[in-house]
């Protein structure tokens, strides 16, 4: 519950800060512990359908594995140690496996953090908070909100254009090539329709008195309260403890200016 009530700007900035720090870590143990910690926080302090979390998390897992694999195969072969590890019947230097695991886990650490934000934040609240806390110009913010509303509409629009093409005798694509051609044929009508609608929306907004002036009132005032600072304290504290632990056990490795 606590995560949903947090000020969205504070939450977003905390997560960006954390991601930035995590990007400088080059050992697998620290991100692994941090992933577990982030997940515990997400499940403990957030309310959402757990099943959805799993659905969102699976592609990240795949991506992380891809990162691990490509780094392992395409990395500079390390000569620092003689030790070899065998994976899927291929031998790799132990040090390379170590680095690849750390890069893969880093992707997962970013993923858990972004899921924490996604699953506990209302998009409209986030934008309202950006206007009120980070002084985002209302003209941009409300323009973006309006544009974001086009998202479900684009889908129906797409189906309409597709149906219109079919009626006029365009066949269903059967080969790869035809499939690509179909998308090329869709692009311009879809974009043109979206631009027309966007222009109309803008005119409607202005006719109802929207000036984009900063000096405006808000239906939902967003504020940063004292309790909002608990979240950054907790998350950065957790990172500090994680790093301390892995330093203590001798796993920690920091970005050493490798180029």
């Amino acid at each position: 519950m606590f995560l949903h009530d947090l000020n969205p700007t504070v939450k977003a900035l905390t997560i960006i800060g954390l991601v930035f720090l995590l990007a400088f870590l080059f050992d697998p143990v620290t991100p692994l512990i941090y992933i577990c910690g982030t997940m515990v926080v997400t499940f403990w302090f957030g309310t959402f359908k757990k099943k959805h979390y799993v659905y969102y998390f699976l592609p990240f897992l795949l991506f992380a594995f891809g990162m691990f694999w490509t780094t392992l195969v395409f990395t500079d072969k390390s000569t620092a140690s003689e030790e070899n590890l065998s994976l899927f019947g291929i031998n790799f230097p132990a040090e390379d496996v170590w680095v690849a695991t750390s890069l893969g886990l880093r992707v997962l650490a970013f993923a858990t953090l972004s899921l924490l934000f996604l699953f506990t934040t209302n998009m409209v609240h986030f934008i309202l908070s950006l206007i009120q806390q980070l002084k985002l110009p209302p003209k941009i913010a409300y323009g973006v909100l309006a544009g974001y509303r086009f998202l479900p509409m684009l889908k129906t629009e797409f189906q309409q254009v597709l149906a219109a093409h079919r009626i006029r005798g365009v066949n269903k694509p059967e080969t790869w090539k035809e499939w690509i051609v179909q998308y090329q044929r869709m692009a311009i009508p879809l974009l043109a329709g979206a631009i027309r609608k966007a222009e109309r929306t803008a005119v409607a907004m202005e006719s109802k008195g929207f000036t984009g002036d900063r000096d405006r009132t808000f239906y939902r005032p967003m504020k940063i309260q004292r309790k909002d600072w608990i979240f950054p304290l907790m998350m950065f504290g957790m990172l500090g403890i994680t790093i301390a632990l892995s330093v203590y056990f001798g796993y920690f490795s920091f970005y050493g200016g490798e180029l």
Partner: protein, 192 residues
Amino acid sequence: MNHWKLKEVVVMSVLSVVFAIVYLAFLPVGKILVGFLGPIGYDLIFGIWFIVSIIAAYIIRKPGAAFLSETIAAAVEVLLGNAVGPMLLVSGMIQGLGAESAFAMTRYKRYDLFTLMLAGVMAAVFSFVWGYFLSGFAALSTGYVIAMFIARIISGALISGVIGKALSDALAKTGVLSSFALGKEYRKKRAA
């Protein structure tokens, strides 16, 4: 920001939303290429991920168009959920800044094919430097990293520069852009 018309802002964000979906759709394409060719797979088609900044800047022709549109597209990608995480927002801002820098170099006066291709190249350069640190390219062999860099630059120039221009021109021909800078230029040409 005050010399932006609301309608330009809304059209820019709609373009960003549309291309955010395109961007997401191309992530698995990139992944397949990576599966075959290694990390360079992304670089071959990397230009697709700069395209909205070139299109928005070419259509609206105001300072900030390239940067803002790419940032919004990245934000929408983050909100829709993607496999890269919130860092994508920063990547988008950096790519947008790269494209913006090319338009700033011409003082927002020239919008010919060369400038648009330059914008694609600058976005590629900016994003590569960023990717170098974020994705740990440092771990890859030097020759391979150079090949990735060149592939990304070419992709930026061709996919985002050339295709971005072609798309915008095709849109202008339909007449929907008549109240934007690109549409006005078209009308002038037709009158002449």
